[in-house]
Amino acid sequence: MKKIEAIIRKTKFEEVKEALLNSDIDWFEYHDVHGIGQSRQERVYRGVQYSTDVIQRIKITIVCREVVLEPTVKVILNIAHTGKVGDGRIFVSDVLDCYSIRTGENGDTVLRDKK
């Protein structure tokens, strides 16, 4: 089992969500995240100039079976892409095990196909 963590543009979230729902993923979480990077945005508040380094993105977390890892990553890579700086990153890591709370079973069969 693998965990995919993808940090994407907020504007791309709806498209990525649709694509994931149409693929082999039956569940994922997402969060609004604030990141700090090298880019700065100039702002003015009541005549006082200030710069904010806070960048708002959405982070999607997916745990999936290894067979669907590659197609899922490809979906995100394709759809969240604009070609400009700030498109985001995808991290993949191993997951040791997974339990279904309802049935008590474990292993990657818990992450069934949705069909």
Partner: protein, 414 residues
């Protein structure tokens, strides 16, 4: 035409027979609309400050109106409108005067909402760092003493009214008075933690909700349609109908041009049209037209709106960056600077053909200066004494974590 001044002079003989239903309805409608400025101020001040202090600033707005209503009845109204000398009235405490063209209690409630408006201006400038208990004491003093005394000068038959000083609905009496005390409060308190960097550079502390701020300004704009037009205090007869309608138009025009001026100013200077400054610009236009809304032409009201708003924009930066006085909502610039300019503008633009008012530039300037000096000094002394006796400012930890939790035990957002 019957102005605010005439209420003060007792109209005793057969007065009950003259009490006029239409006039009364008009003034009571005005009281409702001016009351509506209280939520307006509350929303503007809440929107332009941080979420951790929202319950506190809303509480302060309640305190201003609650204690204002009580104290203006016990003391304030008698000092402001009671017979006395040139400087203050001293008659009939807890008693609310004589019937004129409207019942005495009608006059009283209309003046009460004006008093509460003057008090509530101050809370914004002192936001986010004042001890709640100290603010309550200050609010009591302003409604009982400071506002009634300076109000007596212009509206209660005092020395300014005898000189021919013209302040129709309160650019000086209400707004400049509030703005001057706001300046005194902000100076005595000092800036919020983190407002200025170590080398003295001003930092932005963005308000937490511009939706509230914008809604508040619309409330105030609407409330001003009571503040100014209903200050005719009479609605019967064609002359009053003309005057009321004229005041409606000039009031609205100055608000609109004030907003436009602030939008263009920030667009040119800061490169982006700023919503929070447009909100202040609208208010500056309204404050500016309040003194002369009955006696200047529509064209003059448009000019007053633009000039007051532009000077207000410069003043916001001046107060923030040069004086280094931390005024989170711009109360000093909007009400103080706007009040001064609006009062002086009467001396420049007043057209005797419109409402029969003649005003001299010198007297207008003198009146504005006198009220500013008195209110600033009174505010400064009160705040300094409170600071020495008990400490005006809350502890640093309370300021950093929010007044809502420590002072009130409840937060605005849960």
């Amino acid at each position: 035409m019957i102005t605010l001044l005439d209420i003060a002079t007792p109209v005793v003989e057969e007065s009950k027979d003259f009490v006029n239903g239409l006039d009364t309805l008009w003034v009571l409608l005005g009281a409702i609309l001016v009351f509506w400025m209280q939520p307006g101020f509350a929303l503007v001040e809440a929107g332009l400050t941080q979420a951790k202090n929202t319950a506190n600033i809303l509480m302060k707005n309640f305190v201003d109106f609650m204690f204002g209503s009580l104290l203006f009845w016990i003391l304030g109204f008698s000092i402001m409108y009671g017979a006395g000398n040139d400087w203050f009235g001293w008659e009939g405490f807890g008693f609310i005067g004589e019937d004129s063209n409207v019942p005495a209690e009608c006059t009283f409630i209309f003046q009460t909402v004006f008093c509460a408006t003057a008090a509530t201006i101050v809370s914004g400038a002192m936001a986010e760092r004042t001890k709640f208990s100290m603010y309550v004491i200050f609010s009591v003093l302003i409604s009982a003493l400071v506002y009634p005394i300076e109000g007596h000068w212009s509206w209660g038959g005092g020395w300014l009214s005898e000189m021919g000083f013209h302040d129709f609905a309160g650019s000086t009496v209400v707004h400049l008075a509030g703005g001057a005390m706001a300046l005194a409060g902000a100076i005595v308190l000092g800036p919020r933690v983190g407002k200025y960097s170590k080398d003295g550079k001003s930092r932005a502390i963005p308000g937490h909700n511009l939706v509230l701020c914008a809604l508040g300004v619309f409330c105030l704009w609407m409330g001003w349609f009571g503040f100014n037009p209903c200050s005719t205090v009479a609605a019967t007869g064609y002359d009053n109908a003309v005057s009321m309608s004229h005041v409606f138009v000039t009031t609205n025009m100055a608000a609109a041009t004030g907003g436009i001026a602030a939008m263009l100013y920030t667009w040119l200077v800061d490169k982006k049209p700023s919503l929070s400054m447009v909100c202040n610009g609208v208010l500056a236009g309204l404050v500016g037209i309040t003194a002369g809304c009955d006696c200047v032409s529509i064209g003059a009201s448009a000019i007053i709106g633009v000039v007051v708003s532009l000077v207000m924009c410069l003043s916001v930066s001046f107060v923030d960056k040069v004086l280094k006085v931390d005024d989170p909502v711009g109360a000093v610039s909007v009400h103080g600077v706007g009040g001064i300019l609006g009062t002086i503008a009467v001396g420049i633009f007043c057209d005797p053909e419109i409402d029969g008012v003649e005003a001299s530039l010198g007297v207008q300037a003198l009146g504005a200066a006198a009220v500013f000096v008195f209110c600033f000094a009174a505010g400064f002394i009160i705040f300094k004494v409170l600071d020495k006796v008990h400490g005006l400012r809350c502890d640093r930890i309370i300021e950093e974590e929010g007044l809502d939790v420590y002072e009130h035990g409840e937060t605005a957002y849960n």
